[in-house]
C-alpha cells in the first residue's frame, strides 16, 4: 500500500466535496459576512477576560518574586485609620505609574494583576469606564502601530506632561490614548459620547503617591483575613493527591479569580506532574488516578465560577481532557501535556 493509495483512500471518504461547496448558492450570505466583518473594529482588542487569561498564569508563576498588588493589599493597622502597608506592597506601588482619575464621582472599580511593570485598572463614574493599562516601555511602538491601523482619527495630546497619541477607533465613539513615561507605556481607553468628554477625563488623570494610590483601591480587593477560609471553600470539591497540601498564598488576598487560579493551579500542577511521572514509568494505575481526578475539574465549583471572568478554567480543562485523550493539548499549537503544562498553568 503506497502513499498515493493511502491518500486516495483518505480522499475517498471526504464528507463534503469541493465541487458541492462551489455550487452552493451563498452569494448573499457571503457578501453579508464580508461586509459585516469589515464593518467591525479592525484591531484586535482582547477583552479583559482574555487579558486575564494571559496574565494570570504568568503572574502565578512568578508570584514569589512579584508582589501582585491585589494580593498584597494586606495592611497592618499600626494606628486606627492609618493603614501601614507592607514594605513589599509599597515597593510595588513605588514601581507602578500610580495614576488616578481625580474628578468628582470617579473611583477605582477594579484593579487586577498589578505589578510594578504591568497592570490594569478600571475607573468609573458609574456611567463611563476608563481602562488603564501599563506595560514596560518597550511595548510602545507596536502598541501605537496596532491602534493606528484601525483608527479613523488620531491626534496629539499631552497626558501629565507626556506627549501621547489619541486614537478613535474607526466608526465608533471608542477612544484610546497611548503615552509613555520614563519606564512605562500606558494606554487609557474608554467609550464616551464625544472626544471632548474623553479628553476631559484624560485631563483629570493625576499622579499620586503610593499611599494615596493604595488607599484608592476598591474595598473588594482588600480581604486580608479571609484568604485561608476562601481557599478551603474553593477546595471543598477538589480532589487532592494524597499527602498534598495547597500552599495558601502568603500575605495575599487575591480577587477570587486570581486566588482560584492560584489554588486550582497548584492542585492541577501536582496531579499533572504525577500523571507525567506515572506515564514515563508505565504506572498505568497512577496515571489513571491522576487523569480521573483531573477529569472532575469540569465540575469544580470555583472553576465554574471563574469561567465567567477569564480563560484559566478552560486552559486547565484542556489539560484535564488531554490526559484522557492521548496527552496532546490541541488549543493553538499542538503540544504534549508533559512539555507544556508548567508554562501554561504556571507550575513552579
Amino acid at each position: 500500500m503506497d502513499e498515493d493509495t493511502l491518500d486516495r483512500l483518505v480522499a475517498s471518504i471526504w464528507p463534503v466535496a469541493d465541487a458541492d461547496v462551489a455550487h452552493l448558492d451563498l452569494a448573499a450570505s457571503e457578501a453579508d459576512l464580508l461586509e459585516g466583518i469589515m464593518s467591525t473594529d479592525a484591531i484586535e482588542r482582547p477583552p479583559l477576560v482574555a487579558m486575564r487569561a494571559r496574565l494570570v498564569p504568568r503572574l502565578i508563576s512568578i508570584a514569589a518574586a512579584v508582589a501582585v498588588l491585589v494580593g498584597v493589599l494586606s495592611y497592618r493597622s499600626a494606628q486606627p485609620g492609618h493603614p501601614a502597608y507592607s514594605a513589599e506592597l509599597i515597593a510595588v506601588a513605588d514601581a507602578a505609574p500610580r495614576l488616578l482619575v481625580d474628578a468628582p464621582g470617579w473611583s477605582v472599580s477594579r484593579a487586577d494583576e498589578l505589578s510594578g511593570s504591568n497592570g490594569e485598572m478600571t475607573f468609573t463614574d458609574r456611567t463611563h469606564e476608563l481602562e488603564l493599562h501599563w506595560a514596560p516601555t518597550a511595548a510602545s511602538p507596536s502598541l501605537a502601530q496596532d491602534r493606528g491601523a484601525s483608527a479613523d482619527r488620531t491626534a496629539t495630546v499631552s497626558v501629565l506632561g507626556h506627549p501621547g497619541t489619541l486614537f478613535r477607533y474607526a466608526g465608533t465613539t471608542s477612544y484610546t490614548t497611548i503615552w509613555s513615561d520614563e519606564t512605562h507605556t500606558l494606554e487609557a481607553r474608554g467609550d464616551f459620547e464625544t472626544e471632548a468628554a474623553y479628553r476631559t477625563v484624560l485631563d483629570h488623570i493625576k499622579s499620586v503617591d503610593s499611599e494615596a494610590w493604595l488607599s484608592a483601591m476598591p474595598p473588594s480587593v482588600i480581604k486580608p483575613a479571609a484568604t485561608t477560609a476562601a481557599v478551603n471553600e474553593m477546595l471543598k470539591d477538589v480532589p487532592q493527591p494524597e499527602g498534598f497540601h495547597v500552599t495558601v498564598p502568603s500575605a495575599t488576598v487575591h480577587d477570587r479569580y486570581q486566588l482560584g487560579a492560584a489554588v486550582t493551579g497548584q492542585v492541577a500542577c501536582r496531579w499533572i506532574g504525577d500523571w507525567v511521572a506515572a506515564d514515563a514509568i508505565g504506572d498505568h494505575a497512577a496515571a489513571a488516578r491522576a487523569a480521573d481526578a483531573m477529569a472532575t475539574s469540569h465540575h469544580w465549583a470555583i472553576l465554574q465560577e471563574m469561567k465567567r471572568d477569564g480563560a484559566f478554567p478552560r486552559v486547565l480543562w484542556e489539560y484535564a481532557d488531554a490526559m484522557t485523550a492521548g496527552g496532546m493539548v490541541m488549543g493553538g499549537k499542538p503540544l504534549t501535556v508533559a512539555e507544556s503544562y508548567k508554562a501554561s498553568l504556571g507550575c513552579d
Partner: protein, 192 residues
C-alpha cells in the same frame, strides 16, 4: 490613515473572496452539524481581518487561514458570531444545503483513520482533502516543514497498520465505501 485603511480593505476583500469557499469546505468537512461551519468561517475571517498584517501574502494565506480555523475548531471556542444575523443567514443557507445530514457510513478507512491521534488524522486529511503540500501542512500545524514531512510519513504508516489490522484488502477495487461491519463479517465468513 485613510489610504492605509483602504489598502487593508482591498487586501482583505481579495483574501476573503479567494478563500471563502475553500475555507468553508474545510470547515464543512470537520463540523457536525454542518451549519457549525458558518461560525468557524466567520471567526476565522474575523481573526484574519484583525490580524491582517500577520496573514502571509499569496498562496501561503490559505494554509494560514486553515491553521486559524483548526485552532478555532480545536478550542471549540465560539465568539459572538453565533448570535450575529450575518452568520445566521449563512447558517440558514447551510441548513438548506444540508437539510438532513446523514450519519456518515462507517467505513474501514474511516475507522482506521479514527484510530489515529488527532494530529496524524489531520495531517492525512489536509493532504487528501485539502490538497496541501508538506510545506502547507507546516503552516497549518505550526510545525517546521521537515517535521511536517516526517509526521506525515509516520501518519501514513500508522494508517497502513490500522487498515491492515482491520483486515483491509488492497484487492478491493471500491475503496472506502465498504461498511466496516460488512467488511469484517465478510472476513469472518472466510469470503476474503
Amino acid at each position: 490613515m485613510v489610504h492605509q485603511v483602504s489598502a487593508a480593505e482591498d487586501r482583505f476583500r481579495e483574501l476573503f473572496e479567494s478563500n471563502f469557499r475553500p475555507l468553508l469546505a474545510y470547515a464543512l468537512r470537520r463540523t457536525e452539524p454542518r451549519e457549525e461551519a458558518a461560525d468557524v468561517v466567520a471567526e476565522t475571517f474575523l481573526v484574519a481581518w484583525r490580524r491582517l498584517d500577520d496573514v502571509p501574502e499569496g498562496a501561503a494565506a490559505r494554509p494560514w487561514l486553515f491553521g486559524v480555523a483548526r485552532r478555532i475548531l480545536s478550542n471549540q471556542v465560539r465568539g459572538q458570531w453565533r448570535r450575529s444575523r450575518l452568520v445566521d443567514r449563512l447558517r440558514g443557507d447551510l441548513i438548506m444545503a444540508y437539510p438532513a445530514t446523514p450519519v456518515t457510513e462507517a467505513t474501514v478507512v474511516g475507522v482506521a483513520l479514527n484510530r489515529l491521534d488527532e494530529a496524524d488524522r489531520e495531517l492525512l486529511r489536509l493532504t487528501a482533502w485539502e490538497g496541501l503540500t508538506p510545506s502547507d501542512l507546516a503552516v497549518v500545524m505550526d510545525i517546521p516543514p521537515g517535521t511536517a514531512r516526517s509526521r506525515l510519513h509516520r501518519a501514513r504508516s500508522r494508517l497502513r497498520v490500522e487498515l491492515l489490522a482491520l483486515g483491509w484488502d488492497e484487492r478491493l477495487e471500491v475503496v472506502g465505501h465498504v461498511g466496516v461491519g460488512e467488511r469484517l463479517l465478510a472476513r469472518d465468513a472466510g469470503c476474503d
